[in-house]
Amino acid sequence: MWTRVCAGSTLAAVAVVLGCGGGGDDKEKQAAERPCPTAAATMSGTPALPTGFPQPAEVTYTGQVAKGPTSIVKAYFNGDIDAAYDTYKKAFKDPFEIEDSEHEEVDAEIEFKGSGKEGQVKLLQRCKGRTSVTLTIRPE
């Protein structure tokens, strides 16, 4: 038993020492508390999204590009990461389903599938009260 505890403690110590070197997370957290700079310009027109894809009222679209078969939509959400995450999670309805989701301090991902498409909603709060949104939409 003692050996087991020691082994566990060593693993934990290694993990903590190595884990503290992560770095980037703290910077992002600090950035999320700072005032936001001027937002990117709204895109002309509306993005081509699959029928029934969530379009929360708080979201402003800033651009859309095609990368091969995949469409990447850039946007921002007027609100913090919690609000953005909850809003998108509640907004996915039939024929879409959420396959996986993860919410960390200032970033979150929602994996979705439906309507012949699948992809990800990537959320990152870069400043106080605004969350960047990247939609990756690819064929199923």
Partner: protein, 407 residues
């Protein structure tokens, strides 16, 4: 960091529960977990899978399921990348009342139903073939590994904007054919980006004719989805004729065999870019480095057999070890949540539980999704001086820290 700490607390709690909860009045029983992998034909892959499963249970046995303590026995069966042998291994797992089968993916098409009838969950930790996993039709099959769908679409997103004319070279194994199907699907809306599609024989030791055919097709890039030996032969055939075409590859490029085959011409490997599952998560490299440290402490560094940019031996990071390790941890949590080793109950709990994975990411399945690695976690890495680093011209990859590979 909170996730890491939570993970450690969970691990510590499991260790204490496992270690302290054994009742003196109960005889310890044995849980058998079968690792079915190509131990002889691809020792790197087989050993990686088995060692990772073993690591997951280190310090956690006996495991208490309800009030019953269990030791864990890991049985290694060599499928030799033969579906027939994999089916025979499945039958043996059933005879031995295995709790679960962890496999590279060989023979799952043929053996999953046998395991399902015996209520044994299977987890695939290497093969990304789309058809292998279907939560409705194959409720006992799970996967933690990048999918072919994810790899091929990420390649399409990465390569098509470069304006390349790509020759697909896929080998005649199940791995290569699965890759070919996935690439065809990912590139079907952009067919002008594909110069040619060539199947290469996996047993050939000279692929000069196939590479010449690709060159004559006007290809400006090669995308190889093949076993490690065939990939090495493609590189040799291209570079030995002075063709400096960019070469891209499936995750098999990571296998030490590729670098060993090219040890006499390390510069030929320079620039080879491959897709794989990200090693580090949003929380940073800490959890992965801790896992790597634990893995190497237990089994020693996985030496590739070549030297890196600083003249030191190259060590393979245990990225593909994360997947069997995470599954074994999920299995442990599922069994304890079910308070039973009954297969149906364990499968049901596998659809519900989650753990903090080896890289700090949350890992788990649901009733509708039995794939534990999402498409958007596929990144690209490029070789230079026998080690690889994430590329800078892909939005995800450029955010990932390089992992030291010399030791």
């Amino acid at each position: 960091m909170r996730r890491l700490v939570a993970g450690l607390v969970l691990v510590a709690a499991l260790a204490v529960a496992a270690g302290c909860g054994t009742s003196g009045s109960q005889d310890t029983k044995t849980l058998t977990i079968v690792v079915d992998a190509p131990f002889a034909r691809s020792a790197y892959l087989g050993e990686t899978i088995a060692n990772a499963v073993q690591l997951a249970f280190q310090g956690k046995t006996p495991v208490n399921v309800g009030s019953q303590p269990y030791d864990v026995r890991i049985v290694r069966l060599d499928n030799g990348q033969s579906p027939a042998r994999a089916v025979a291994d499945t039958r043996r797992a059933i005879r031995e009342h295995a709790l679960a089968i962890v496999t590279d993916g060989t023979g799952v098409d043929a053996g999953w139903s046998l395991a399902n009838e015996a209520h044994i969950p299977i987890c695939i930790v290497y093969d990304g073939d789309e058809g292998l996993v279907d939560p409705e039709a194959r409720p006992n099959v799970f996967r933690i590994a990048p999918t072919n769908h994810g790899i091929s679409f990420r390649f399409a997103e990465y390569l098509i904007p470069k304006g390349l004319k790509i020759a697909f070279l896929t080998d005649d194994t199940g791995y290569g054919r699965g890759g070919r199907d996935a690439l065809d699907h990912a590139f079907e809306q952009n067919r002008s980006s594909v110069a040619t599609r060539i199947e290469i024989p996996s047993t050939a030791t000279d692929l000069a004719p196939q590479v010449l055919k690709a060159r004559r097709s006007g290809a400006t890039a090669l995308l190889v989805w093949a076993q490690p030996a065939s990939l090495a032969e493609v590189v040799i055939a291209a570079r030995s004729t002075g063709w400096k075409v960019p070469i891209y590859s499936a995750p098999s490029a990571e296998d030490p065999l590729v670098r060993q085959e090219l040890a006499d011409h390390p510069d030929w490997l320079d620039g080879l870019t491959f897709a794989s599952g990200r090693m580090t998560a949003e929380v940073g490299p800490g959890p992965f480095l801790a896992f790597q440290s634990a893995f190497q402490s237990s089994f020693g560094p996985q030496r590739v057999g070549v030297k890196g940019p600083n003249g030191k031996p190259v060590v393979a990071p245990p990225d593909y070890a994360m997947y069997p390790y995470d599954f074994a941890n999920l299995l442990l949590v599922a069994v304890q949540a079910a308070r039973s080793v009954d297969g149906d109950k364990v499968v049901a709990k596998l659809n519900e539980v989650s753990v903090n994975g080896a890289n700090g990411d949350e890992r788990g399945f649901s009733q509708n999704n039995h794939d534990g690695v999402v498409d958007d976690d596929v990144y690209f890495a490029r070789f230079r001086d026998m080690v690889y680093v994430p590329v800078k011209d892909d939005p995800l990859s450029r955010t990932l820290p390089p992992i030291d590979q010399e030791g």
